[in-house]
Amino acid sequence: MSIRWKLFIALFLLTLLPYGLVSVYIFKYVENYIRENIENQQIQNINLTKKNISNYFTSLLKNITFWSKAQILDDILTNDVDKRIQIFLDQIEINYHLKGLLIVSNNSGYIVASTNRKLVGKNIFSLGFLESNKYIQIKLPIFASFNKKKIGYIYHLFYTKNLKDFLFKNNLSSLSMVNIKTGYKVGFIKEIPFSAFNDSTFENDKYIYYAKTFSITPLKNWVLISQINKDIVFLPLKEIEIYFTGVFLIGFLVISVFAFYISERLVKPIKDIADTMEYVVKTEDFSKRVFYKGRDEIHVLSKSFNYMLSQIEKALKTIEEEHKKRLEILKNLLEMFSRITSIEKEEDVLNVSVEELKRFFKDIEVKISTKKEGKCSVHVKSEKINRYIIFNRDKEFTEEEKNFFISIGKLINLILEKIELLNKSQQASKAKSAFISNMSHELRTPLNSIIGFSQYLQLDEKDTDRKKALKSIETSGKYLLEMINDILDFAKIEAGAVKVNKTIFSIKELFNEVESIIRPLANEKNLNLIFPDEDFKIYTDKKLLKQILLNLLSNAVKFTEEGYIKVSVRKEDNKVIFSVKDTGIGIKKEDLKKLFTSFTQLENPLQKRYKGTGLGLTIAKEYASLLGGDIYVKSEGEGKGSEFSFYIKEN
């Protein structure tokens, strides 16, 4: 989870908690307040009703007590013959609007007078009034005014149903009176879901009930009950609940937005730094910077971060520059060494080296001297040279610098040594070449004479024996010449004196020249000599190529007694491939390798017949390699002919 979400949740919870607590507390407080208010009001209502009822009965009791003391009631003793009690009762009924019956009886229950005249003369106990729920009975004794003896009772039978006049019903509450003993009810409450009647409250889903008992005697069995309809009473509470829910939701929303905004605001600069870091790590572009306007810890962080980036950037640049500088120095050093090592003339070595050193060490004085001097000197010595290279500057040289100068001195001495050796070997090589050249001339000249004179003598010679002898001299001379040529060619190769001189010429022309030399030899042995018809231009050393072909062909003629010798040629990329195939004596497999070794002629029962230096193939191979190619041999075995192929490269 990202910091932003963590922060958001923390902020959200931190803000929501107090807000929620305060909201709930206020809600509960208001609810309680309203509830108490309502309850108080209801209690007041019921108390008022109770008071009304109590007052009514208290005053009723007082009046009856007063009435019971009336002198007129002495007439009980006469059974009210004069109807004076009856008139008294009637007048009370008119004056006091009684809500029940007023009855006067004697001690035995005989009814003397009653507001209901039908009851006069009857016994009150036999009427069953006193047990009936229809009435609430108030009974007071009557004493004779003259002797204070009890002479009877005055009864007030209050119509129970008239209690209803004290009770009421509205949309909030209903009131009822209940007789605890009998369970008889008067009033507006339809159903009372409890039976423990004392001063108490009872509550169920829909209603709250308040019960009140009475202290006055006539009502001691009665309870006043008020039923309050919660739905209606707590309606304002519901509204407040809805209002609070709304306020809470709005608060919740505001807190969410606030928390989101704050977390976003707090986290954004951190995220910027993180993003920048990631970018820098990914791209290695240390020129990136973080921008933050605030003046807090994040500002310090981004400042430090930017500072770090700029330091890294600077460090990297320095390293890069240092690296470039070093490479440059290394390059210069290598160039200097390469120039010094490529000096060819001994007399240039000192001057060029000093020149190079001066160029390389810009702040060091470098010069040549005949003696040791300065801060550091290096001895340079060869057969012709004996000098010191002097390095000088104001500051002393370090040990490393001195070692470096000494190494350079060693290098220069090595170059001098190399040049000396090279000169010596070149001189030796030149001498060798000159010797070979001279020898070649000197050897050939007398042989030419021998061959020439023996030919001349044969011209006029009639004696066949002598002529044969002369011919023999000629043949031997020619053979000797051939061998000398081979040896001289080989010596030339060995001395490295063979120079490749490439020209463009026609291959056909070359074949013609070769054919003119080989054809007579082939004809002598009755061999079929076949040259290819192809003609194309070729760029190589003609003399060397011709020599290769001549050597291979003369070998082929030499070792073939019957059949044919076939020359073929083809071009392949920049290669030209030649092949000389014969039907001669062939070569043993194990001998194939020895073939191109100098001075080797293969062991062969017929060997004595084949004379020669054994250098022909070696020379051919050397020439082929001088022309950028090589030579190969293929043979099916002894007596099965052989095929020599070679290729040369034109570039």
Partner: protein
């Protein structure tokens, strides 16, 4: 009688050529060095010149350069065939086969 100048530092060779050519009724003048040869070309006006290529003082080719415009046929005696004048002049490859020599000379004298 035709006149042939032989310029060759090798006396043996000169002698051989002289013997062969005299047999063919040709007058032979000899020169041992290049210098001598040049002098004799001017003095004797030979019909044909046989020039050895390799000589100590002046090479056969150098001599040929100098006498080119005199329009005297030249036959080189050489071991090396490939050179600058390959197509301008006649060659006899060493060792000299006298039969070839006689044939060549006769062809030029006609």
């Amino acid at each position: 009688m035709k006149k042939i100048l032989i310029v060759d530092d090798d006396p043996q060779n000169r002698y051989l050529l002289k013997l062969v050519l005299q047999k063919e009724n040709i007058e032979v003048i000899e020169a041992e060095t290049g210098e001598d040869g040049l002098k004799k070309i001017d003095d004797e006006h030979p019909d044909i010149i046989i020039l050895d290529v390799m000589m100590p003082d002046i090479s056969g080719f150098q001599i040929y350069e100098k006498i080119k415009d005199k329009n005297i046929p030249v036959i080189f005696l050489t071991a090396v065939v490939d050179n600058d004048f390959k197509n301008e002049v006649e060659y006899i490859v060493k060792p000299v086969d006298i039969n070839v020599l006689i044939e060549t000379i006769k062809r030029h004298l006609k």
